[in-house]
Symmetry: C2
């Protein structure tokens, strides 16, 4: 039997850490998940993780050859191989690559989840063949991965690509970062929830959402209500798409990408979000860019997208090392 | 006598076209200028230009060896070698590189003036040794050249880097591009003039600027008034620096550059502009970027900066071709 080269992709989240063996075509051949236990030191997480990975290797037998490890994590620094003061993990500053090398002496790299998503789209998804594009991840927050000339933009310190923290409403909503008016406070799962509560205050439309308290309201509830023509939910998507689209027109002025790809939970809302976003982007676009940048949904639909992105980071590094 | 390699740098402006022979250290050894005659076709400009260049070559004798040609021009496309619908020249779409090759069979490249300025700063100026930085050109308008990983960001179509057309005040001042609220309508020589007129309306301070009509008021007048402690002029610089600094904090969130370099007429105003810009940039900065991006004045002070930038474009391409 021929051995298949695979990369171990690891996605470290605040609650769960997911991982899988991913081949060079983006097929996840084996996968697993453990709890992150955010209060534990990082060393304990990797101890438990590699126990599971060893089990998976035994299960795969001689069929798989592990050739590298790619990791997506919050506040990760690609240059330094570190995770630095992640808001949801009690880690402080940790040299993750050094820990990983203690378990497997293989090429290993780490980046934040949005950059991993961008490389995932480039390797396996909607950005195949593109050299200049942006991925916007719409989860609890808003992350972004920017690709220029086929490479992720890390900036001088490794932290570039924080479009979620572009201030779009000076003096606007309080953001988790301590400032006010960041895009993330409007265009994200938590942003659209805030928008619903603003609309419940400002407008008198009857709404299914008037019976759900703030802490229980999810983006899924808002989506479900919108699918039932709930006026407040529909307006919330309209507003969210508009403010996102307006900002993306500015992003195009910076970077003139071939496409902007929307990734993550809220992006799965389809036309509810894409239609107002596309319209606002085009109607705010500088004339020389009009109609040239495509707004696309993620095409990383085959399995755990965050694990695929993390694996793609390493496949991309391995391909670059060959050239 | 040893021959010195030089590049012909050409800066095409709406009024004058300036050019010079620039050596690889950024020294302009011979220079000249002709009127652009914006109503003429491009072919006539280059006919007159190369007649002058031939004269300069004769004057230089055997001392200089021309090794390439770099051109800065409005609405230039580096990928295609074209100038496309420049607002101030009656050219339409012109294949400039093709015309230039008819005169000299040498490597030739063209880009817009802000990108040329960025490459100039990287080769000869304030960005020497930097791989990630932004140059903001503050002239009549506001241009920008973005450098990532040592290369200018052109985007998928060659037109990236239009920070002057990021919308900073939704529904704000009418911009020359046909939209409203672009940064250029606030932070530029024409923007600060508009700000003065807003302040002359809103405030009752006595001001030297109350005696100058709109069409005659220059950025130099505003600078001179500010140096005499004119309240309106001082407030105009304060406001201009603030809105520029706020936008630059957002630029850092995109690109995390090592430095942002202010270039051009208005940038020569020194602390009047830099102080409020620096303060607004830092007070609007996402915490992970705080204090890490330097705001610097151009260090292209040796001769005609636009000609140096245009020449640097070709020196940069020649160096890349060698590697």
């Amino acid at each position: 039997m021929e051995r298949v080269d695979v990369v171990l992709g690891i996605d470290i989240g605040g609650t769960n850490t997911e991982f899988g063996f991913v081949d060079k075509d983006g097929k996840c051949v084996l996968e697993g998940s453990i709890t992150t236990n955010a209060q534990e030191p990082a060393e304990r997480l990797f101890e438990r993780l590699f126990a599971k990975v060893t089990e998976m290797e035994l299960q795969a037998g001689d069929g798989l050859q592990l050739v590298g490890i790619g990791i997506g994590a919050p506040n990760a620094n690609y240059y330094k191989g570190t995770v630095e003061q992640p808001p949801n993990l009690n880690w402080g500053i940790v040299d993750v690559i050094n820990i990983v090398r203690g378990y497997r002496n293989l090429p290993a790299a780490i980046t934040n989840d949005a950059n991993a998503a961008a490389i995932g789209e480039m390797q396996f998804g909607a950005a195949r063949g593109m050299k200049n594009f942006i991925v916007i991840t719409l989860g609890t927050g808003l992350g972004s991965g920017i690709v220029v000339n086929g490479s992720v933009v890390y900036g001088h310190d490794g932290f570039a690509g924080e479009i979620g923290h572009v201030i779009v409403v000076p003096g606007g909503r309080e953001c988790g970062c301590g400032r006010n008016g960041c895009l993330e406070a409007y265009a994200s799962a938590s942003g659209i929830r805030r928008t619903v509560f603003e609309l419940l205050c400002d407008d008198n439309d009857a709404s299914l959402l008037r019976d759900i308290p703030f802490n229980q309201l999810t983006a899924k509830d808002i989506y479900d209500a919108a699918m039932q023509d709930d006026a407040i939910a529909l307006k919330a998507f309209e507003f969210t798409g508009e403010i996102l689209g307006e900002t993306l027109a500015n992003s195009v002025a910076y970077l003139s990408p071939e496409a902007i790809i929307l990734f993550g939970g809220l992006a799965a809302s389809g036309d509810l979000l894409f239609k107002p976003a596309q319209e606002a982007m085009e109607s705010n676009m500088l004339n020389i860019f009009a109609g040239k940048t495509r707004l696309l949904p993620s095409a990383l639909t085959n399995g755990n997208t965050a694990v695929l992105g993390a694996a793609a980071l390493m496949w991309n590094d391995l391909a670059a090392a060959k050239n």
